[in-house]
């Protein structure tokens, strides 16, 4: 992947770098050992994630919290203020979140959202996927730190686009300048102006 040479080796493996991009490196290199993943499911790459985010007009956050300290509140604030998406909050135990009504379930939303963003524990993901299928949404986005490989495979088998263990705020900010402003490696190299 760059100039500091590693031992020549015919076998390579694909690893995910810290910036979210993937690349092929010699299987014998120390970096390959460090990044070796036990996971077998591989989600959409960076360019596909950008495509998902650019195509969508509406996002529903399942498991949204009215507590300002929670990650879902951060994501809701960011999407409301730093994106053009129509944002909906789903939480049966809340009436209002960030100045908007909170809906008890996905079926109660006024429209079918393009992306269902999920803040629920890993074992709840299969039932959320069934709810997503029931309303006919096309993409389920399971948040950073949540991993349920069987559920992801099941969702894909039912025709869903599945993103998992990624923060929708971070991924949107990766392509729209926010992550860059905080000094993170976005992996974005481009001679075109920043998308807005």
């Amino acid at each position: 992947m760059s100039d500091t040479a590693v031992a020549d080796d015919s076998s390579t493996e694909t690893v995910t770098l810290a910036n979210g991009l993937t690349c092929a490196i010699p299987a014998s290199s120390p970096l390959a050992k460090l990044l070796k993943s036990q996971r077998t499911w591989v989600g959409p790459g960076a360019k596909e994630r950008l495509g998902i985010l650019r195509k969508a007009k509406s996002i529903a956050i399942v498991g949204a919290s009215p507590n300002p300290a929670r990650s879902s509140y951060f994501v809701g604030t960011y999407l409301q203020q730093s994106s053009d998406y129509r944002v909906y909050f789903v939480n049966p135990n809340a009436s209002e979140i960030l100045g908007q009504p909170a809906y008890p379930d996905l079926a109660s939303l006024p429209e079918v959202p393009d992306i269902v963003d999920v803040f629920r524990k890993a074992s709840d993901i299969p039932s959320v996927i069934d709810d997503v299928l029931a309303i006919g949404a096309s993409t389920v986005w399971v948040q950073l730190g949540i991993w349920n490989e069987e559920a992801a495979v099941y969702g894909e088998s039912q025709g869903l686009t599945v993103v998992m263990d990624r923060c929708i705020k971070v991924e949107h900010a990766r392509f729209h300048g926010g992550l860059h402003l905080m000094g993170f490696d976005t992996g974005v190299i481009s001679s075109r102006r920043q998308v807005r």
């Binding site: 992947m1 810290a18 460090l34 507590n67 960011y78 976005t186």
Partner: protein, 430 residues
């Protein structure tokens, strides 16, 4: 954007600098502004609470500084970076983030003198004790760890002026066995010669003043983190405790792998304040664009000069790990296959007086306290950069009385050698 990982030379020029969305400026704009307007009170509140990304005040973040940060993060293979006003402040914010009164650090005894005094004087006065390990064996670092108190291991990829090479993979294993991060100062190597994160380091710090900037014009530092260390492993309870100043968030709970760098910016830059100036960030980032070409020229010249000195009777020893005689020659080939940097020292026959005479007679090499300039630099560490160390510390740092340190520049190598030749002649019989 293309879905690929671009090469090192491409990233040195492009990473962190997508054309400005407002103006389309192709060069990196210098945002010489202390503060940034909010869109609304709601926007201001969300930025202050870290709920959304956005600039507030240039002590915390600045768009030009961010471009430099992303560029270095990309080249080091890190998750992200936080830039600082100098290399020593990059270290200080890192240590201040991870250690407090009663905690302990294990560090190499061959560190740069300023790093030793930061740990030995100021941090010790703040209640943070450091054990300096006078050994290149990771097992000796393991033995110095105090379970429950030691918060990090610290070493340099290439030590100066001894030329020692750190066994980064071995030190990473020792650190991780104790659930603590390995912090590596990789100033002399730069990511072109070695990327410590690839070998298991968790945090890399640089004095960007040196080879990254490359022209001896601009002070700066940078902290890069891998994003791989588990900050919820209970070695650092602060990452899991509620933070009242930021609305009750928890660093690890809210930011996950982004926790260390987010906290470093939002707490340590906020409270300590060593921000990198936007104009400095521009100069350093421009220097980085030619880093691969300069570093190749630096190590090529260093090799020629080291081999010439090594073959000369007026010189007793040359401490450059690119030479087969150096005790870390094999390590250098493993960790820095292109070459172990361009900063090394040599012992002039005739001891202290002869060493000083050599320096006084240099015509091309500049006598000053810096390294990593396009120009060749020379100094006598025992009476300058390392003068504040005790006799014992000097011995442990590998600094003898006749030791002269060179930072080999990228002039014509024949001119550098000619300059040394006439100065060594002048020093004969001193």
């Amino acid at each position: 954007m293309a879905d690929r990982e671009y090469g090192f030379r491409t990233r040195a020029i492009h990473a962190g600098n997508v054309p400005d969305s407002a103006t389309g400026a192709r060069a990196m704009p210098i945002y010489q502004s202390s503060a940034f307007v909010f869109d609304s009170t709601e926007d201001a509140a969300a930025r202050f609470a870290l709920q959304k990304y956005g600039n507030i005040y240039s002590r915390l973040a600045n768009p030009t500084v961010a471009s430099f940060e992303e560029r270095i993060a990309s080249l080091e293979g890190g998750l992200g970076a936080v830039a600082t006003a100098s290399g020593l402040s990059a270290q200080f914010v890192t240590f201040a983030s991870l250690a407090g009164a009663g905690d302990h650090i294990v560090a190499s005894s061959t560190l740069y003198g300023g790093s030793i005094t930061q740990l030995d004087v100021t941090l010790r006065r703040f209640g943070i004790d450091t054990t300096f390990v006078a050994s290149d064996d990771p097992a000796d670092y393991a033995a110095a760890i105090i379970p429950g108190r030691t918060k990090l291991l610290f070493a340099e990829t290439v030590a100066n002026p001894s030329g020692d090479i750190a066994d980064i993979a071995g030190l990473a294993d020792v650190a991780h066995a104790a659930d603590i991060p390995l912090v590596i100062d990789s100033t002399i190597a730069t990511p072109f010669l070695c990327r410590p994160i690839d070998w298991g380091a968790d945090i890399v710090v640089h004095s960007a003043t040196k080879f990254l900037g490359g022209h001896g014009t601009t002070l700066g530092g940078v902290v890069v983190e891998s994003g791989r260390f588990d900050w919820s492993n209970h070695t650092f309870p602060l990452f899991e405790e509620t933070v009242p100043h930021y609305g009750g968030l928890t660093w690890h709970g809210n930011f996950g792998e982004y926790a260390f760098l987010t906290r470093l910016r939002a707490e340590q830059l906020r409270d300590i304040g060593p921000a990198l100036a936007p104009h400095s960030a521009f100069l350093l980032a421009q220097g980085v664009e030619t880093l691969p070409y300069r570093m190749q020229a630096h190590v090529d010249n260093a090799r020629a000069v080291a081999e010439w000195l090594d073959a000369d009777d007026r010189v007793e020893a040359v401490h450059w790990a690119g030479l087969p005689s150096h005790r870390h020659h094999e390590r250098a080939q493993q960790y820095l296959p292109i070459g172990p940097g361009a900063v090394f020292s040599f012992d002039v026959a005739g001891g202290r007086a002869a060493g000083q005479k050599v320096i006084e007679n240099m015509q091309l090499a500049s006598h000053l306290a810096n390294i990593g300039d396009a120009k060749t630099l020379i100094i006598h560490p025992g009476s300058t950069t390392h003068a504040q160390l005790t006799e014992q510390q000097l011995v442990e740092a590998g600094i003898g009385p006749g030791l002269v340190r060179l930072s080999v520049g990228i002039e014509d190598v024949a001119d550098i050698i000619d300059d040394l030749d006439q100065a060594l002649d002048a020093a004969k019989g001193a």
